[in-house]
């Protein structure tokens, strides 16, 4: 293999594939490498952790076809520190020689035949085109509600629930749950049967990280155990999480005994301040009352003291005092874009629901901490 490539292009490609190399549980040394090869007149980079594989085409001038795998870490740091824009790369037996005007390096690689074969989708698998911004938005909105759990593998992912005229995305760690709906004006597909799949958290995070084209579509294909995301030069294939996502519909509060509408940034601020006075349980007391013009956020700690913060709010319904974990509360709030949020409460031991006042496409449910 022999080629000349611009540093900016190469770096972009490396950034896309970079996070998965050497990330998996396997001890196989070659997984720390990425595959560098020429395919049909294009330069292709691939990396995998055996759960997730990313391939990326970058532009450059190919003088001679070929391929090799090289350790990502060292290659990355060389490319990152090089000053010259033009880089020439050439394989020499199992080594890769990097050359610029005044620099030369030789990296030991491994033959490309040793690299894991990246699975592909069978021909004719139905696909779905979704507006990229909507997917990224929805993924980022729900992903914060999930945490990696050994006990519940089916919760280590985001539910992708296709219902022909909409897609619902949901995630939960059993203490909170977030859901966002993407309406059918945002996607096109020939799939006519509803389906539910669970996409691993790592995959969700990587999709949000590397697919960046603005206003473009992303193509999704999947079969029983894998899902593929494709957009221009980038392709990501991932395993799916097996198992059934918890049936969460019954726990969504239908109406609220108490309802408050308040400024989101004020509340975020209040929670951050209150967090200084909490101990390990992260307890923050949230009080709202009928016809009162404000909501009180209160926290105290045995050793430190206490504080309270009043936020102007519109409230209706019965008075209530609920204790929440401020971290979980804040996680949920931060994912809303709107100026105000609407919080529905049902006593101090039932889930609370956070919504945006004029947008019904998403919500965040949060369990209180039992008041002791």
């Amino acid at each position: 293999m022999k080629l000349i490539i611009l540093k900016t292009n190469l770096k972009e490609g490396l950034d896309s594939v970079g996070r998965v190399a050497g990330d998996g549980a396997s001890a196989l040394p070659i997984l720390k490498n990425f595959l560098f090869e020429t395919v049909d007149g294009k330069i292709k980079l691939s990396a995998t952790n055996l759960e997730l594989a990313i391939t990326c085409f970058v532009s450059g001038k190919i003088i001679e076809d070929g391929g090799i795998t090289i350790p990502l870490g060292i290659f990355n740091s060389i490319i990152g520190n090089l000053q010259s824009e033009r880089i020439s790369l050439e394989t020499e037996n199992d080594n890769l020689v990097i050359k610029t005007d005044n620099y030369e390096a030789k990296i030991q690689g491994i033959k490309k035949e040793e690299f894991p074969i990246i699975p592909s989708m069978a021909n004719g698998v139905a696909s779905m085109d979704i507006d990229l911004e909507s997917v990224r938005g929805a993924f980022s909105f729900v992903v914060g509600a999930a945490q990696v759990s050994e006990l519940r593998p089916e919760m280590n992912g985001v539910l992708f629930d296709f219902g022909t005229n909409m897609v619902k995305l949901a995630a939960t760690d059993s203490f909170r749950l977030a859901e966002m709906t993407i309406s059918d004006s945002r996607f096109k597909t020939e799939i006519s049967e509803p389906f539910r799949i669970i996409i691993p958290l790592k995959t969700i995070n990587e999709v949000v990280r590397i697919f960046k084209g603005v206003g473009e579509k992303i193509t999704i294909q999947f079969d029983n155990n894998q899902i593929l995301f494709r957009d221009g030069n980038l392709e990501m294939i991932s395993r799916l999480v097996s198992g059934d996502f918890p049936e969460y519909q019954p726990i969504i509060p239908q109406d609220a005994e108490t309802e408050v509408v308040l400024d989101k940034n004020e509340l975020v601020n209040a929670l951050k301040l209150a967090s200084s006075f909490t101990d390990r349980l992260n307890e923050v007391k949230f009080s709202a009352g009928d016809k009162s013009k404000s909501v009180e956020v209160f926290s105290s700690s045995h050793n430190l003291g206490e504080n309270k913060y009043l936020i102007p709010a519109k409230a209706k319904g019965s008075s209530v005092e609920v204790v929440f974990n401020w971290r979980f509360f804040l996680d949920g709030l931060k994912s809303f874009n709107s100026e105000n949020v609407k919080i529905g409460l049902n006593g101090d031991d039932k889930p609370a629901i956070i919504k945006s006042p004029n947008d019904n496409s998403c919500f965040y449910i949060l369990m209180p901490i039992k008041n002791s």
Partner: protein, 452 residues
Amino acid sequence: MDLNQLWQSTLGEIELQISRPNFLTWLKNSALINKDDQGMAIVGLPNNFAKEWVANKYHKMILTALHSLDESIRKIDYVVVDEKKQIFRASVKSSPSQDHQSALPEIKIDQETNLNPKYTLSSFVVGSSNELSYAASTAVIKEVGKKYNPLFIYGGTGLGKTHLIQAIGNEIKNKYKNKIKVKYVSSEKFVNDVVWAIRNKRMDDIKEKYRNIDVLIIDDIQFIGGKERSEEEFFHTFNILHENNKQIIISSDRPPAAIPTLEARLRSRFEGGMITDVSYPDYEMRLAIIKTKLQEKEKILPDEISDFIAHKIQRNVREIEGILNKIIFYQEVKNIEPTIKIAEEIVGNILQQSAKNITPQQVIKAVADFYEIVPGDFINRSRKKRIVEPRQISAFLLRDLLSMSYPDIGEKLGKRDHSTVIHSYEKISREMNKNHSLNQKIILIKENIYKN
């Protein structure tokens, strides 16, 4: 015929042909799912990566191996199967009053004992090497938390520690009809839990989880040594349980005093209860174990073969079970009445397998490391006691593990005469059976050899 056994034997053969990381990466969690009359076998793999790789790179190897074990197999198809069948079901329990973060309804985690019901006291073979541990266990079952607390059982690998402590848990569970909450964890799981809790700032979950139980069983406690936060957490858990007369049962591969990284306060607490050991079974007991295992599997073997295995495998009960499985497999699959010759072959294979990756240098280095001297010291002619013992142990291990010839060993240990080596070997073998501390040392050195 049992597909699982067939696949295990196939894997056994493939394992010898490819490197360990490759084997683990591609063939872990694989299974033989089906084979039909047309000679088509279906192999299940956990993900698409494994499927592509195995189908493209290992196909020939697997087909050859399968075909040699079962001649009817001519073709293989590979499929992806779900990695884990869903083990944890969502269940709604009446929530115990807890003053910390409650979970969303409908999705609560079922607490389990983690015990494997296959371990029972009735299937535990008792002999002189473990009768004290057994007696202590039965006493604990009779009077939970009162008599021997904590109960600390130690001994080498494959001698039945896990069997015994899990059996205690199972017996208690059955006897007291779930009125007593039992929990079994490996110390690795405990450490993982603590790490998880620190990372997610949920230490209280851990406290809740481990302090609300009546019988805590911890396996392989030696791994907790040196992990400070885990040790501390375990120490507090231990104290609270102990104060409240809750039973604690611990297993380890060595006595508390010999776990160097263990904090003194934990050690002294372990020593405050009952410490018993399980050591190597003697010949009669090994024979009894073989008979029990055969009975469990409802199989019959000629006495001479049982006798042969009991003679050959002296140190590890798990190996005995492995060999029995293989012999029974022959009996069923190939329809050959097992003869002493076949048994010899299988036993030979197993003994060799464990030694296949060890070099004489590794053995010498492990011994030197253990005694904190440099390997070069063996080679000189010094007769100081601190040099002589390691040298003799090296000679013994080289013979025992690698079956090297006496002259070869002499060569490796500084051009010594083969008769000197024979003397060393015999001396150590003799003393091992009498001298407990020597025995312990050798076990530890062996572990280090296998670990590296």
